[in-house]
């Protein structure tokens, strides 16, 4: 039922955004999960051709990027360096996480954008971190910004600068985070994501230690999620993994999340980023 509602919601969105001509694939009977997966894949392909709802957030993010905003009334395009020079967005997403000397930290895209919003525009970090991910009828501004920046790296190859010793160190730490077992169920990331060909229920589990596995884990983020009709970032995905791992909650834009994203993204180095995703 939820699936049908989400499909209807997306259809409505798409008609507005891209005047879709064809109806989406008919909803499948409950219980046939393989069939549902197939239907979803078909639907996703169709959405990608006709206009991913994520593009609406990309447009919003572009406005936020270019407008003078925040207590300091400064535009990010005139102040924020994502690693390739102030205001340069093309190719920036696939070359993060990277080391930023001005912050003295390795940062992933979302963390860097938040850093710029705080340092350049004068926003308060605590305000940005209070509700950092999308929920009912709410999308944080930084989510739209990440969506815009990520879209400008579509069809470019991941190239996390692992030769930088700062980045290499964080990569190695990320590798340890992925292997770390704790909590009531003794789970690490690797309990589910450390071997090839595993599933939870019908969900395939990418092996983060392999290039192909890491690639399938980083592709599709940021993505528009049909369940709940929300735009979500890779930071969100990491947080929700820890929830399912029965861990406590990672702080927003923390070193641990950057370390994980460094490990995963660098393992996908050399492979193509396909752009904004659509998730179930």
């Amino acid at each position: 039922m939820k699936y049908r509602i989400a499909m209807a919601a997306i259809l409505a969105l798409t008609m507005q955004a891209a005047s879709a001509q064809d109806k989406p694939a008919a909803a499948v009977p409950a219980g046939q999960k393989d069939a549902t997966t197939l239907e979803f894949e078909k639907f996703r392909t169709q959405m990608e051709q006709e206009g991913n709802p994520a593009e609406l957030f990309e447009l919003q993010g572009e406005e936020f990027w270019k407008a003078k905003r925040g207590p300091k009334n400064v535009a990010l395009t005139a102040s924020c360096d994502l690693g390739l020079g102030v205001g340069v967005v093309k190719g920036a997403y696939v070359q993060m996480p990277r080391y930023f000397a001005d912050a003295g930290k390795v940062m992933d895209a979302e963390r860097r954008i938040v850093w710029c919003m705080v340092e350049k525009q004068g926003y308060k970090f605590d305000d940005l971190a209070r509700r950092p991910f999308a929920g009912d009828n709410y999308t944080p501004e930084q989510t739209s910004l990440v969506t815009y920046v990520a879209a400008q790296s579509a069809n470019m190859k991941f190239a996390v600068p692992l030769k930088d010793p700062h980045v290499r160190e964080v990569y190695e730490i990320g590798k340890e985070v992925v292997a770390y077992r704790a909590g009531p169920y003794d789970f690490s990331c690797n309990t589910c994501h450390g071997a090839d060909g595993k599933r939870i229920r019908m969900q395939n589990l990418p092996n983060l230690g392999t290039p192909q596995g890491a690639l399938s884990a980083v592709l599709g983020w940021p993505g528009y999620r049909m369940t709940g009709s929300v735009m979500l970032t890779h930071q969100w995905r990491m947080s929700d993994c820890f929830r399912q791992q029965r861990f406590p909650q990672p702080k927003y834009a923390s070193d641990t999340i950057t370390a994980l994203l460094t490990y995963m993204t660098a393992n996908a180095n050399g492979h193509m980023y396909k752009g904004l995703g659509i998730k179930r």
Binding site: G174, G183, F187, R199, I200, F242, P250, S254
Partner: protein, 204 residues
């Protein structure tokens, strides 16, 4: 085994491992102190969950492959902590067991705190043939009782395995459902029923 000898055993095991520590240890130490900074309590998922217990520490430091001698001694230690039902009856209601096996609820920061929680079984195992949405992190349990025999000894093994999977494989991926107080005695019995009862669809 009493507490003191358990602790000394653990200490001996840790010391052995420290001697074998290598360069990874620096990154691991950094990862650990970083994670202690970076996690906060949310709902029932308290921040102290980020600390490893003794068994987790050994598995973390050996890439889940502790030296066999240490593993066997610590497995025996885990097994010694398994509390078997006082009434000696291990074969519960397989229908109830099926429901427990289906549920993945419990212990996340969005779950209501407290018991009962689900067994998460289908997340990782094939069990009854009717459920086609099953995971493959663990082995298939289809026809478990039929293949192994519904003996008292096998029932005891299944009960103990669910109670504390680490009793038989120190760094098993499977949680210690009884040891941590997640599944109750009745729930574990019902799961034994699901796997062992000749009437259970698992064994048809």
């Amino acid at each position: 085994m009493n507490n003191i000898s358990r602790i000394s055993l653990l200490a001996a095991a840790l010391l052995t491992l420290v001697a074998a520590a290598h360069a990874d240890g620096d990154y691991r130490a950094q990862a650990l102190s970083m994670m202690k900074q970076d996690f906060v309590t949310k709902g029932q998922a308290s921040a102290d969950r980020i600390s490893e217990d003794g068994l987790q520490a050994i598995c973390n430091r050996t890439g889940n492959k502790p030296p066999p001698e240490i593993a066997h001694r610590l497995e025996a230690d885990q097994l010694a902590g398994v509390k078997l039902p006082a009434d000696g009856k291990l074969l519960g209601d397989w229908k109830s067991g099926e429901q427990i096996a289906q549920s993945g609820r419990g212990f996340t920061w969005t779950d209501a705190p407290g018991l009962p929680v689900g067994g998460n079984c289908y997340n990782c195992h094939q069990i009854a043939p009717k459920e086609t949405s099953f995971g493959t992190v663990g082995p298939s349990l289809f026809q478990f009782g039929k293949l192994r025999g519904n003996t008292a000894e096998m029932q005891k093994y299944v009960y103990s395995k669910i109670y504390n999977a680490k009793s038989f494989n120190l760094c098993s991926a499977m949680p210690r459902f009884g040891h941590i107080g997640a599944l109750t005695e009745k729930q574990i019995k019902d799961l034994v029923g699901l796997l062992m009862d000749p009437e259970s669809p698992v064994n048809k």
